[in-house]
């Protein structure tokens, strides 16, 4: 059994009298320690996959297994615990608490975890050892995203979910962030799921899943993932 398994997952939104099928019968799997790139155009359904995988939303039908646990069967409370202990989330717009310093933002997440990493160390790890006492508004976009990654990592999650982590960043910074994610996965064996519309970065993933109109159109394992530095777009 794979570490992550999506089996025949369907998600239907009811909007008035119209049913919108965000996901129709999606199935894929991923292994522990892999970098999974889920790619697709806007509205293809990749965010829905992420939401369901991250426990922020539930599927209409199908089974989702993460590390042997059935996420689709979780109730509100276990979902919260699932998010709390198993998932690290990196947002497109960082979503830092403006009122807390970089370090505090990390600590915010750490405080509610069972077996967290040391926040300051994590900050060091993401290269913000110097600026960890700054408030988010005092940091650049890339730095803020690093804080966000640190916040996710410090929780020591099973899964790192990244939603367009470079979407709000310039090319160079974006690359740096991706590099950080790649390194994290490589050095810590962290399973990282990256959602992106940028097909150009797919070569960095161990597994590439392409979604179009709520269906998986490609699910392949990249036997030779490239270092992010070698990827240009």
């Amino acid at each position: 059994m794979s570490y992550i398994e999506f089996r025949n997952v369907t998600k239907t939104y009811h909007q008035g009298e119209v049913d919108i099928h965000a996901l129709s019968d999606i199935s894929f799997e991923a292994e522990k320690g892999e970098i999974v790139i889920i790619a697709g155009a806007s509205g293809a359904g990749k965010s829905t996959v992420l939401n369901i995988l991250g426990g922020m939303d539930t599927c209409t039908s199908g089974t989702i297994t993460v590390d042997g646990e059935r996420v689709d069967q979780m109730d509100e409370r276990t979902l919260t615990d699932y998010r709390r202990f198993d998932i690290g989330f990196v947002f497109q717009f960082y979503n830092l608490v403006q009122n807390l310093t970089a370090l505090e933002n990390v600590e915010l997440a750490v405080e509610i975890c069972k077996d967290p990493l040391d926040p300051a160390e994590t900050m060091e790890r993401v290269g913000l050892g110097e600026r960890m006492h700054n408030f988010p508004s005092q940091l650049s976009g890339g730095e803020q995203q690093r804080v966000a990654i640190a916040r996710a990592l410090a929780k020591n999650p099973k899964l790192l979910l990244c939603d367009e982590p470079t979407g709000a960043l310039d090319y160079v910074t974006g690359k740096q962030i991706l590099k950080l994610l790649q390194e994290t996965s490589r050095t810590h064996g962290m399973t990282v799921v990256i959602i992106t519309h940028n097909l150009a970065i797919t070569p960095m993933g161990d597994r590439i899943i392409r979604i179009k109109s709520g269906r998986v159109i490609e699910n392949r394992i990249n036997p030779e993932p490239q270092n992010i530095d070698t990827i240009e777009w």
Binding site: N51, M56, R83, R84, N99, A109, F135, S137
Partner: protein
Amino acid sequence: MNRTLIKSLIRLIRTSLSRFLAVFAIVTIGVAFFTGVAGTADIMSVSVDRYSDETNLKDITVYSNYGFDDDDVKAVEDIEEVKKAQGAKFTDVIGIHENDSWVTRIHSLPEEDSINNFVLVSGRYPENEHEALAENGSELEPGFTLGERIDVILPDGSKNEDIVSDYFIITGTVDTPLYLNEIKENSTLSNQYIRTYLYVNEDVFTTDYYTELNVLSKNGKPYNSFTKPYETYSKELKETIKTLALTQADARRNKIRDDALAEYEKGIQEYRDGEEEYRNGIREAEEEIADGEKQISDGEAEIAEGAKQLEEAENELNRQVADAQKQLADAASLLADNSRTLAQKKAEFEAQKKDLLKTVSDLQNAISQLKEAKDGLRQIDEGLVQIDEGLSELNDPKTALLIDLLRQADPEMTLDDLKQLAGSLNDLASEIRERFPETEEITAEQINDLIHELESQFDTDSALLNSEETVLLIESLSQLDPDTPLSEAEGTQELTALLTKWNPLQSFETVSDLLTAYENTQSLFDRLNDLKQTDAYVRVREIIDSLDPAKPITEIFSFDIEGMDETVRKLEENTGTKINTVGDLLNSYDELKETLEKTKKELLDTRKSITDDLNEQGVREDGIDAKIKELEDLIRTIQNGLAEGEKALTDGEAQLNDGWAQLAKGQRDLDILSADGRAQIAEGQRKLIDSQNQINDAIKKLEEGRKELADARKEGADKLADAKAKLDEAKEQIDSLEHGTWTVLDRASHYASATYHQTVDQMRAIGNVFPLFFILVAALVCLTTMTRMVSEQRGETGVLRALGYSKLQCASKYLIYALSATLLGCIAGSVIGMHTFPPIIYHVWRMMYILPDIVLTPPWKLIIIATLSFMAAMGAVTWTVLRSDMQEVPAQLLRPKAAKSGRSALIERIGFVWKKLSFTWKVTMRNIFRYRRRFIMTILGVAGCGALMVTGFGIRDSINDMVDLQFFDILRFDGSASLNDEASEEEIASLRTKLLKRDDVSSVTDVYAYSALASDNEQSGLDETVSVQIFNEPEEIEKAYDLRTRTGHEKIALNDDGIVISEKLAENLSLKKGDTFLMEDEKGSRKSVKIADICEMYIQHQAFMTKAYYESLTGESPSKRALFITGSEEYEDLKDLQADLMEEELVSGISFYDETLNNFSTMVKSLDLIVWTLIISSMALAFVVLGNLIHINVAERQREIATLKVLGFRRKEVQSYIFKENNILTILGSLAGLPLGNLLHHYIMGCIEMDYVMFGRNVSLMSFVISAALTIGFGMLVNLAMVRTLDSIKMVESLKSVE
């Protein structure tokens, strides 16, 4: 603005309705408070102003040292601006009813529809001089009650001479704007407050001038009399009247002076007349004395004469009496003689009477014998007559004939046979009579002859008739025509003659007649033949033959059968034997006849013997009656004689008795006459003595008269001199008569209007506190709301600007949004405010004022002010928010606004604290300090809520405190009984003992108590009325009061060096411990007293001192005694005690606190209304402020919350993360609200506190705790309401881009 913008505005309002409502609500609350509380002042003033207008309350009152007359009234009324002027009368008295003795002003009833009218609340108008209308008053302090009798006196107990009545019955109660207060202005009685008033008919007043002159202005009514314009207007009028006063004030004075001068002249005249009179009087008196002397000497002479006459009269009387006595004695002896004679005569008479009576009885016997004889004779004669009758009957010819006839008959023949025979005879007789009518008087002999003749004739004729020739003739005749006349028939003459003989009645004309007669005759002859053959005929023949030949035939031939029957009947009757036969008849007849004759003989014999007897007595038969009459006459004579004798005797006795009676009467008369005479003589003597006494008196009087005259002479002279002096003095007074002055007062000097004016101003002051505070909170609410709104709409604004809309157009959307919410809030607030606060507050003031019904006129001015200020504030705030956005270029606007950077709070510098805080705490802290507007808004809002609540509860506390502290802590006695001034020590002591013996009395304290006026040393401002209580010993106060300081409750002891006064008095007079002030003693003179201490006391001004201190102040002992009585705990009420105390003669009045306590309890209850209003208001405030805050907080931090959720924060953790901030602010706010509330409470209590009452000054700890707890509770409640909003935030929000 174009249509799309308006559409977008409307849509904006609809989507953000809660924000819109928040702004609307806070404005509503603010405006409601402002218009409500501040508007109350206006509504209060308008209500009373309208009341005053409706009842024509005077604008100006004028007083004068000479009063007013109608000319004065007319002069004032002639002033241009005066609509009406009216004189009125009043006087001040003490009104007494049961325990109450109240200073009472008695007003004359105003004319209908004139100035100072009133509202008749109950009852009817007075109809006579003993009826009055009384004050209706308030619940706490009512006036006299309907139906009560009020005795009115002056303070010294004398009658008020200004009015005719000394008591009034209350027939109705009234309300008047003239008196709005429970405590009223000063009276004219030694500076005491008027407690109540009465209205009476004007004719109750004896005064002929008006005491006051009331003026109603022409144009005053349109103004509100509690405003400046009115004051200006009335001041002008006041000045005009003052100008008039310069001239008019003396008019009445001059009139009075003229009158006085006239009076003086009259006095002088009277003086002269008096002098004249004096002289005449003296002269007359002297004459009278001379007269008196003469009368006395005359009188003495008369007395001497009288005495002499009296003596003569006495002698005469004695003589007369003696004569009369002698006459009476003679008469008595004569009477005695007569009496004896009479007795003798009587005895003689009785003897005679006896004999005479015997004679009479003999005579009566004789008479009865005679009568018997007479009766016997009469009976015998009657018997004889009857017998004779019977005999004559028997012998009467007819009967005799009958008997004779019968004797010849066969005795064996029955009577029936006889009757038959008689019938035949009678028939025969009648036949004969028919035949021989002329033979009436023929005798039997003749008859006999006749019969013989007839028989022979018959024999002849029958032979002839039956002869052949006749037969032949008849045969031949019968051959003839019957009608042939006889004359024509031959040979018929003989026959005709024969037949005519036998048929005398028949005419013989024709043959037929003849034949007929023949036939008849033939048959007659046949019958006669037959008859002749019968026995009867034979016997008749025999009878006839035997008859007396001389007898007439009629007698013989009328055998009377009926007569025989009669005879038979009689015989049967008389003999008793049945008569069947003729023999019987004859026997009976004979027997009867014999008997009768025998009887007759006997009777005759008897008669003979009787007549013989009579003859023996010398009486003839026909003289019996005469003899009887003679005897009866004799008896009558004897009886008459006896009666006369008896009468003579009785008359004699009667005369004798009469004589005795007359004698007695004579004696009595004589006695009376003699007594009368003596009495008259005595009377005469007494009269003489009286006359002597009178003369003596007259002499004495004359002496006195002489003395009096001397006195009067002197007195008269003195009086004249006095009068002269007085007249001179009067003249002097008239010459120095002071000028008239008018005091013109407008309503600023009218106690009721002026004090109410103050109250209205106080209310206005309270009303001014709230709006500022609410505008601030509202502005903050608006600020946060609009800031959020504008920043949310930033993109849209950018687009609009980019599309070319002007700044103003863009801004107007938000301005209109804010201002429309504000405007709606203003409208709603005005309506709500006007209908909640004024009625409630007015109601509370009604406990202290006697107010008309509320008039809810919208306070437009305030509404406009409130609306404008709120609009301005909200507009300004919104503009401020918009300004920064509007200054940016569209491109900037389209980009998201840089998030507000996090900042480290001050608290972070305190490392050891900071480090210990959890993240949520840190975030909370940072947030609190980061959003300062919200911080202030929340603190202010919540503090305001808490403050309102503290105020509400505080007001309750204050009044409860006042009641509880005053009645349960400080006052230790239940009531007092004031005692008569004359009460002696012993009486008081015995009353005390009596009271102490009662079960419902636990202690009695003997004190002195009176009421005094007090002022500061300068006597500035109003006097305060103080209840002064003097204790014999300092420690005795312990039984009546717990004297202590309000703060700290330190015990205060009385000492002999000063007075302890109540706090409110000290406050009103600005006094402190150790100061001195002026206070009246019992006699009313002001003494400077030293304040030893100031004590806690809530109701009335009180002053306490020892007897020693009082004595040291005045040099006298106090005299007004009272007993302070404490009831037993076990007794619910002391009604019995009160009733019994009233009965005590020593007790002049009682006052117990139970009633007051009830009144205050009612008052506290109605204050609950205010408390609830404040609590509800504060709740609304808390909801709006906190709700808005949380709402905005959540809206602004949606992303953050979503992120937290994504990070795995649980529901509670998210809630606490967000609400912690609110909770801290709520707690901070409510804590801040406590001192604020305390301040507000003090301010409000200061504004509403009454002159003589001190409310509790402190808000209780409990009220603070409750207020804080409630405020925090509201906060929590709002949090709870927001939980749903929090839950509804979706995690997906976190993924969205920053707007």
